[in-house]
Structures are given as structure tokens and as C-alpha cells.
């Protein structure tokens, strides 16, 4: 059973420290196409500011997000991962986010049990009309990740 790959993160973009400068976190955000991605788009069109630290990956539904995506992002050097979908009850595919909700409940608790900082892996519901909410959410996540510093625990150091 093969799974299609999430869009590539370019290696150069994973260098999170500017030469001589301060560290900027790199956040990978998995946004569901119908709500959260549209919400992010609305934030952009409305010129609502949020940190440039986010790399967005569009998925059809939050249920598409496999915990392995989150682990892989952390392994590849992401400092934080956000997964955002439609509000429960509003899923474009009716119940995708409702099943995902159970998966994410377990993922969140499980990763923290191992010692992964809870600030690094966050989940949210953002609808297509909530551009403001999206930008606030991003700024909040960026601030949280800044507080816990660069991710080191699961990073796989390749040349």
C-alpha cells in the first residue's frame, strides 16, 4: 500500500540560523484544502501579517495527515509542525476531520510522552472565512516554537 509523498521541503530552507543572526524557527503547516488553506489564503489577501516562518503543505483533508508526516517533518529539521483542518461538522468530506480528531488526540499525547515538546506539534481548526484567526494562530505557533528553541530531538543529521 503506497502513500504519495508530501511536497518536498528544500534542504537549503532547513538552515534555520542566519549567519551571525538570530535563529528563526521553521514551521511546516499541513492545511486542509477546503478550510484551513483557504483561510490562510484569505489572511494573505487581507494583508494580515504573520511570521514568514511557515511552509504550507496543502492536503485534501486533515484526515490525510499521517502521524508519520509529522515525524518526518521533525526528522528533516522542522522546528514545529501545525496541522489544521475544518471545524468538526464542517468537513468537506463530511467526517474526515472527525476521524482525524481521534488520531490527533492520540498523536499529541503520545509524542509528548516520549519527550517531544508539546509546543512543537500543534493542531487546530480554522475555517475558510477565518483569515484573522489563521494569522493569529500562526503567530501564536511561531511564538511557542521560538520559546522552546531549535528542534534537536528527532533531527536526522545528513550531510
Amino acid at each position: 500500500m503506497s502513500q504519495s509523498a508530501p511536497q518536498h521541503i528544500h534542504a537549503e530552507e532547513l538552515a534555520t540560523v542566519e549567519p551571525g543572526g538570530e535563529w528563526h524557527p521553521k514551521i511546516v503547516a499541513f492545511l486542509c484544502n477546503w478550510c484551513s488553506y483557504a483561510g490562510a489564503d484569505l489572511a494573505g489577501v487581507s494583508r494580515l501579517q504573520y511570521g514568514p516562518n511557515v511552509r504550507i503543505i496543502r492536503v485534501p483533508c486533515s484526515a490525510r495527515v499521517n502521524p508519520q508526516f509529522i515525524m518526518k517533518a521533525l526528522q528533516n529539521g522542522a522546528d514545529g509542525v501545525l496541522v489544521s483542518g475544518c471545524h468538526p461538522g464542517d468537513c468537506h468530506y463530511i467526517s474526515g476531520n472527525l476521524v482525524a480528531r481521534r488520531k490527533f488526540t492520540l498523536t499529541k499525547r503520545f509524542l509528548e510522552f516520549f519527550g517531544i515538546e508539546p509546543e512543537r506539534v500543534q493542531f487546530s481548526w480554522v475555517s475558510a472565512s477565518e483569515g484573522g484567526r489563521f494569522s493569529e494562530l500562526m503567530n501564536r505557533v511561531i511564538a511557542d516554537v521560538k520559546r522552546v528553541g531549535p528542534a534537536r530531538r528527532l533531527v536526522k543529521n545528513l550531510p
Binding site: A11, N76, L158, P159
Partner: protein, 368 residues
Amino acid sequence: MDRATIRKEDIPKLKGEGKFFAPGRKAGDATAFVELVEEPAEILYEYGNVRVPLKQVFFPQTEVLCEYDFDEITEVPLPTESIVVFGARPCDTRALAQLDAVFSPEYKGHPDPYYLRRRENSVVIALACSLPCGSCFCTVTGGGPADREGADILAHELGAAEPGAAKPGAAGSGDTLLFEALTDKGRALLEAHGELFAEAQAGQIETAQKAAAAAEAKVRELNDLGVDLGAELDALKRNMDPLFEDSRWSGLTDSCIGCGACTYLCPTCYCFDIADESRLYKGRRIRTWDSCQFPLFTRHASGHNPRTNKKERLRQRFMHKFSYAVENNEDVLCVGCGRCITACPVNLDIRDVIRAFAKGIQSEHVSQ
């Protein structure tokens, strides 16, 4: 000098410029050859055999071969530091001799520089067994608890209890070891650290020899499998291959769950995988241990897999050890250490296989 005694507390001083490996405890009963870096070094003596075998030192489980960045390839330089290993049981050093043969230039013309470089720069000090375990069958494969093949020095604990002694766990008692140099490298090590050694007394040599003989007798008593594989190489070459289609293989392999514990803990198993790990344009090429027990081991790029079930895979393991290796290398690729038996989650026992086929293996002229 060829024989000398040394105190246990002086062993870490044999380190030299490079690395020093000795048995250490990772957790519970999981032991391995660990690099001693702290002073004073804590060497573990109380062990039957180290769980992760000696091959780990010379053939590490994960090894980076080269790194690449788009079209630029940087080979990882071969290690140059010297290696001293202390405390390998004679079964493990005998296994090392078998790995030497497989990785050497003479074997099908493909020398393994990573392994060979480490071996060239190493001195291996074996530690003879005085208390063989119930799962040891080194004598069946042509070895023994004080076997001399593969090591540069053979050490004996003086004052260790005899097998069957009332005092359990007396291996590790006594604070002096007798060192017997077996190769030029061994002799050179003894000379380089002359101040740590004292001349061996005749009485000490005799004690060591008696302990070795008693241990060997004990192993033979514990594990009589009906055939002496070490002496039956010609018979194995003739008789093992036709046993490929024998109907008994199913029964012997039914309970296997297909994990790789036996192969990874086997001191003579050497199969490896080479994989590239990259992140877009940059990456590295690594070599890792692989196991013929994994279903994907023989999967072809086409998707076809000639060994689809565990009977075929487990049969392959035994045939490699008792048939193909004998043809290719004039040696049974098993040293009777028994790790596969103790590690197997379902207690599959290679001795059952040997016993089952013993009659078929034996030379016709040997009386039953």
C-alpha cells in the same frame, strides 16, 4: 615472549594510541563490546558470552561509506586508529577468522576495505571459557572453549572455577590472567607493554591447560548432536545439498516468526545492505546489516521474490552455514556460540536442525 601473566586491573593499560573495546553491559543482560573511554575502565568479566558479537567492532552495524552533494562524492576516509579488543570468547574470534576469509581479497576477488583496514590495525585478545553454557556447542562446529583460531592472544583466567564447581558464577574470580601470544601482533603487544607482564610459571600454564581441557570436555558432554561438523566437511559438501528438498524443513521452521535476531546476533552472519539516504541533492551512502530472514531481503526490482515464505528463508540460513559456506570457504559458517538459540523469541534451535540431518550428513564410512 609467548606466555606471560598480567593483572586484571592492568588490562585497560593495553589500550595504546587508538581504541580499546571490552565487554560492557548496556542494560540488564544485554551486553556488547563497548569502547572504553573512562578511567578507571570498568571491564565486565561476569558474562557467558557478550550478546552483541565481536563482528560489531570490525563490521559496524551502520557505517557511512561516502557522502555526496549533487555530483561531488566524498569518500569517508578509512579508519586509521589502532584497535585492541579484549575479552572475546574463542567462538567469536573463530568467527572473526571466518569473516576475515569472506572479506579478504582471495574470496571471489572482492576485498572489503572497511573491514580489512580495521582488522589490519587490530589486536584481538580472546578470553578462554571456563564455564561453558548449556547452549554452547562450539566443539560440534570444529572449535572449542580455548580455541586459538582468529585471535592474536588467548587469555585464560587463573583461579576461575572448574565447570561443575559448587561456586556458581566463579568466572571472574581470580585477578590474574595468563596471556598466550598466538601471532606476531600478539607478541608485539606483549613486548610493547612489557612492564605490565610477568613471566608465566609452569604451574600457571598447567592450571590454564587443565581448565581448558575441562571446559572442552564439558561442552562435549552438554551437546552431543550426533555429528562432528568440524570433521565432516567433505561429507557436508556431498550430502547437504541434496537435503534441500527434504520434507523435514517445514516442521523445523514452522514456529519461526521471521525476526532477524538470530542473524544480527550471529558472529558469522555478514550480509549487508547498502542504502543511500538523501535530502534532495545531498546525502550519504551507508552500509548496514541485513538479514536473509527479512522477507524483502531477496525481493528483486521487478517485485519477484524467490523466497516468499519463512521455510525457504530459514532453510537458506542453514544451507548457507552448513553447505554453501563449506563449498566456498572450506568451513562451517557457525561457531556454536548458541546466541541464536537464546535470542530466538520462539526457541528455535539450530541444534535441532543439526540433529535432524546428522545421519544424512555423516560420512558413510563412519559407524552409527
